[in-house]
Symmetry: D3
Subunit: 312 residues, 6 copies
């Protein structure tokens, strides 16, 4: 198989040539906004929604990528086409977009007037092994002492990359359990999000999830809202605390690479009876139907089925 291509600043280049300058403000300041889109059957899922959010982030950051959303979409599809064509058959991909303000003129010894934003699209194959465990045993969430950065510093509605606090939070969570994921609290002690996913719970037949004041308005979370609408499952955005999580009937994560995964433990306490529940099952089945493949089977190789959780 040949090397994958990436798109960097107007050109398609082999991925190994897509190194980022040590003077780039993405690296120096974490001043990067990003998106991850995944494929189902090699087709990008909700690419338009991801790009729309990227441009909202860019507008807030006041960085002009020099491409319209339509142009960036076209480049994305071309890159995808190239890499799918030359890649392993049947492989699914994560497609990353990121934009930075470009190099810091001073570090790079450049005339500031010549600085252009860094615009990159790259892809990586979605491997399922890190997620299998989520579907067999469920996710264990742990609330670390490190708090999420508040909106008046960095608004979580932007998908930004200044997220060392997520790195620190996951270190704390893994101290409690090497497989645990951190669910960060905000400064008031409300539940927010993990480093890569939104958190949702089920109580009395309704889905509840933190508002976007404190969390990313995830595209997968939006998909849950849509599917829930179709399934007549009410959805409420509200401030939630650990007490809500521990006493939920079900809980799950939503995110691009694995769509949805059951949360079965919270700070060491089982949620519900400690197994995935029927609302999650219905959502995953509806999502699978929408994308024309069994999401859980794809990840687990077929021996776990969301339908098994229905009967509970």
């Amino acid at each position: 198989m040949s090397e994958r291509w990436a798109y960097l600043n107007g050109e398609f280049v082999p991925e190994s040539a897509a190194g980022i300058s040590i003077a780039d403000r993405g690296l120096i300041m974490g001043a990067t906004v990003t998106e991850m889109t995944r494929t189902f059957a090699q087709q990008p899922f909700r690419l338009k929604a991801h790009l729309a959010r990227l441009y909202r982030s860019l507008r807030f950051l006041q960085v002009d990528p020099g491409l319209t959303p339509a142009e960036l979409q076209a480049r994305t599809l071309e890159l995808l086409h190239r890499n799918v064509a030359s890649g392993e058959a049947g492989m699914e991909y994560g497609v990353i977009h990121f934009v930075t303000p470009g190099p810091l003129a001073y570090y790079a010894d450049l005339d500031p007037a010549t600085v252009r934003p860094t615009v990159c699209i790259h892809m990586f194959p979605l491997r399922w092994h890190p997620y299998e465990r989520f579907f067999r045993e469920g996710v264990h969430l742990v609330t670390p002492s490190t708090r999420h950065v508040p909106p008046q510093c960095l608004d979580p509605k932007m998908k930004y990359r200044s997220r060392m606090h997520f790195f620190l939070a996951d270190r704390e969570a893994r101290l409690a359990d090497p497989h645990a994921i951190a669910l960060l609290l905000d400064l008031d002690g409300n539940l927010t999000e993990t480093s890569g996913a939104n958190f949702l719970l089920v109580r009395d037949g309704a889905i509840e999830t933190p508002p976007t004041r404190n969390t990313l308005a995830g595209v997968s979370r939006d998909t849950v809202f849509e599917l829930a609408g179709e399934l007549d499952i009410p959805v409420r955005e509200r401030d939630l605390q650990p007490h809500d999580a521990v006493n939920a009937d079900e809980a799950f994560l939503s995110t691009t690479p694995y769509c949805l995964a059951p949360v079965t433990r919270f700070n060491g306490v089982p949620i519900g009876d400690g197994r995935p529940g029927p609302v999650l099952a219905r959502l995953l089945m509806a999502w699978s139907e929408r994308v024309g493949l069994d999401i859980v089977a794809q990840i687990t190789g077929g021996d776990v089925t969301a339908a098994d959780w229905l009967g509970r």
Copy 2:
């Protein structure tokens, strides 16, 4: 002149070959700790103090760079030697160290067990033109609405690179004045720091500066404390607010590349009589003496002299 060298993960490489992987967590999460050391007459200034702080940051981040401080210092000196030897005569340098946890295994399609931290040393020539203005007109500081990230999210005692909030803050400041620099407030409205410097003021003959709960314990700030001690100028760490800045007798910034620069306006209001003051002058003269060259002359080409501010 030949290309500069950089040090990256155990090897000396031409700087243009030192690109950072698009899968590196420094880029993806801003999970980078860093230092900048400068040279005076091509000799590094307080390199040991910078490396000690880097290792404190690394210990907090729980990342092991795989090198002892002494080893990293040796690599640094070798790199400096190479670049000075082949560089422009008389050039001063900024020497950057940065360490990240290395690539994200998932994005890079790697076995997590093989992931190693990214350790980089690189250098750039210190150009004076961006700083000349500071010494001729003084710095204008503006407090933006964006607040500094609080210590319970990211401790400012680490010199970290998840600093998109600094980027946003400077955008706000430049809306008020294209030459202004943002001085961020903390969540309680106390003065903290700029994106690249500590803030200090002079009141009734004493230097006052925010505590390290909310600001970096700058090496240049430490140098000010030492020089002030020698000059019998009292120094106090305390919470300061904009009212203190506006009513200070003098104010200045401390930072690695230009050491100290006068702050002459704050949110549009002149500080004191709007010109640099004698305490700053005495500090700059003492610092110049310590390093054996006239810092202000080096930056301004010689037609500005700190001694001129003494008589005020």
Copy 3:
């Protein structure tokens, strides 16, 4: 034209005789609650709603003005009648009510038992020139570093006059743009209000505006809610952040003197395409219809028409 009358503490007096004592607690402590009502075709608009809010403020302040709402309304109408009769034909007016606890006995060398609240009604002609620009270019809002006073200190549901923070905030905003108006954030970084208006935005066809925990429950804002109801435009009260404003489809201010004005820039970034939008147009047209005159034409002299914004 003869001098206008004012009402002060039970009497109608020429406005020039309505000076407030230097010992009044309105002046000494900012302990004043107030309202502004405007006329359309010389008839007061929603006077009852303004007086009801004034009496809610007074109840909270525990000051008894010595008049029932009906009595105060009668005095108001009489004052209006007098001034319209003797004023310039066709002039519209702002009608101000304010009440203070009266003089500080100690400063005024009075027996505390004799102190009575200060109750004043006065009027001023509504001049349109300061607002024309709002309808031609749109308002530029800037978020200052000064935060709005939190409800546990002074509840914004009261229309109070201890608002030096608004003065400071506008100073900051004007540093960024001499025509900018400050939109203050609360202590959590949520959008609140300007010194004289509520802020509303349009997203996906619905109007969103901050809740009254952090903002005045403006009478003009209530009018927007009513008109939106008639026009089938959904309205939501929710916490909003700068990211919402920058990415809104439209934004506008609501306030007594000019009813509604388009916000076209936010911290230097254009909102939508930088021009007034159709939801605002529909609201202004409905409001104009309700009051029987073209609000925009009245302010701009007729060469700007809200209907022009509809086609966008």
Copy 4:
């Protein structure tokens, strides 16, 4: 006796003619900075310090009064001279300075370019009866639920008049005891100040008082610091909580009109043995000596003597 004079915007006028315009931003926005200086034997006490603080407030507010401090001092002395000459023999005075940005052009129907700040000096006789009780029974302080406005909204280092929260706080305190005075807590629950005085306590022989982050840097408080220095009583600025007040050995208020008064109860609990203490006595005796008259005797008519508290 003839009417007192006041100084208003460049002229000496009879006090009754010194009414403030209903359009003045001092009245409309509470945008006023102020000072009160008192006389001892008809001589102003620390007038220079008061004026220096006034000019610090004005610099922060960015209002230029159009007079130098020396000019304002000269006007003050002249006013004092006039009023003392024509006033009751032996009377002491409170001298008030206040400055506002002047009228709101819009309300006053003025060209904004013609607006000038309002600068006023006025005086009132110091009557002792409201304070006698403080020296006979001591002050009862009560902490209300209303919190002090935080520095990021209005910095207490300015002596500003947007202080309706003080009015509300005193209402709450008087619900607990008609003679009680409110001591406001800040948002973190630290003790701050009353509406008119600084709070200080004595513990183990040292004076402790809140820092100026949360309280006015009172001129009387500065006098206490000086006197304490002469008397070898240590002084510490630190965050204090109600638990500190309740368990203090002594507590007292410092303020311009009555200098110092004992606090003998706090939220209904006696402080110490519920009587004034020896540190306060020593301070009052030293202060009396400095100004050449017995402060306590002046207020109480002579039958209370600070020296009586010494023996405790």
Copy 5:
């Protein structure tokens, strides 16, 4: 009459023998969760809902009481049966459940492995005299300076017993009025709850009450929601401030022992016209109907009737 029984750690014992060990963590750490259920006509009201909440609290606390909810219910009914049988005829009871983690091994000189939770059920006769006043004069609520413990420390959704802050708050309230009850504010100044009841108000025909982020999800509050649904009275959970309480049309408390009681004063200010209102009357009448006895008559001996408040 014979002594009442209690249930303690698996056994029915005479109440006087149900002392709690001085080493119990309920006593040492306030680490107790609890419920109070009352009887109507000697039948427990909503016992299941109370036990469900108790088990949610226990799950959060991670204490296993060693009994299923059904088992605990059976023990409760048996205890009730025993005590009703031997008690005064017609007496109503408060039934208390509380669970602690059991003794602290170290204080009790025990092997930690042998420690078992303390599980207790006990009862006391409901006496009406302390509540009569509530129905004759209404409750006076006062907001103390002491704030409610925030959810990130102790989640109010748990009915926990670490509530010394309630004790302190009531002390403050009684300083203002010996009959007053404290209504605590949260750290942001929102209304929360009293030490024993939820707070609800009526505005424009709808019931409003604080959300469960800051208050207990009271079982009586839930009953109000149900009854309001049946009576077509809208109910809204939202953040409320003192200004809302003072300007409410009605206000009341909901709690287990007396169900609902009118709040007629708030910080000394009458609510509405200072008398109980029709919404409360309708709720009490509906509740009475549901339980088959006149709640108000039971408490007041029959001379106060909720129906009298209807006509207002």
Copy 6:
């Protein structure tokens, strides 16, 4: 050996008879203040300081125990004498004082006028096995997500028993390490204390510890201050964050039962080289000298010696 005595409400009773009423507000509200004093060679250590703090707590709580400090001290000594006389030879004791407001009249069916505070003194033998590990391996501190209750709710200067948050915090810490102890952060992310000890660290030869705004003013902590004074080790109270702990040269806990214990890990990171350090050794040696026995030897049985840590 005979049963130990306890003192309860005026009488000496066998400990097993000292049960606390299920209606006691200590149990119902956590409304308890307490002290623990330990013996060295069966003599109480700093009993006076403990009782003084108890009476400060009581004054804040406004509960009068009905005994003077001297009387309570006499009862304590008598109890100690009784129990030492009849106890195991050589046994050391923890002596507990606690006071509550007494039973809740309503629960206990009592006339409120007859309610008296509950005053209890009891003792337990100090067993060393739980602490041996601290001296062999050092303490591992973990920062939980649960925050310490802020002073405006419950002031940590009181040694109060409403501390369920400590229980929850320790649960979280033990999830990370079954031997870990929780070190709680305050709402701003500063280090505070463990459920039973103060935290101190050593940096550059000086001891640093959080201020008493956020922590108990521990009697053992005071002893450290005294010993440090004698040993010429500087002590500073300041806000500390996890970054300080991780990068300290040494860290330790101070508390009554084991005096001082080394902290060798913090959130999984070794402090210093992961072993106890020389400053702690010197303090323990000085303390041992003061009390006339080797504290470390007493706890460990003699095979660990603080002096061994000196040479590091």
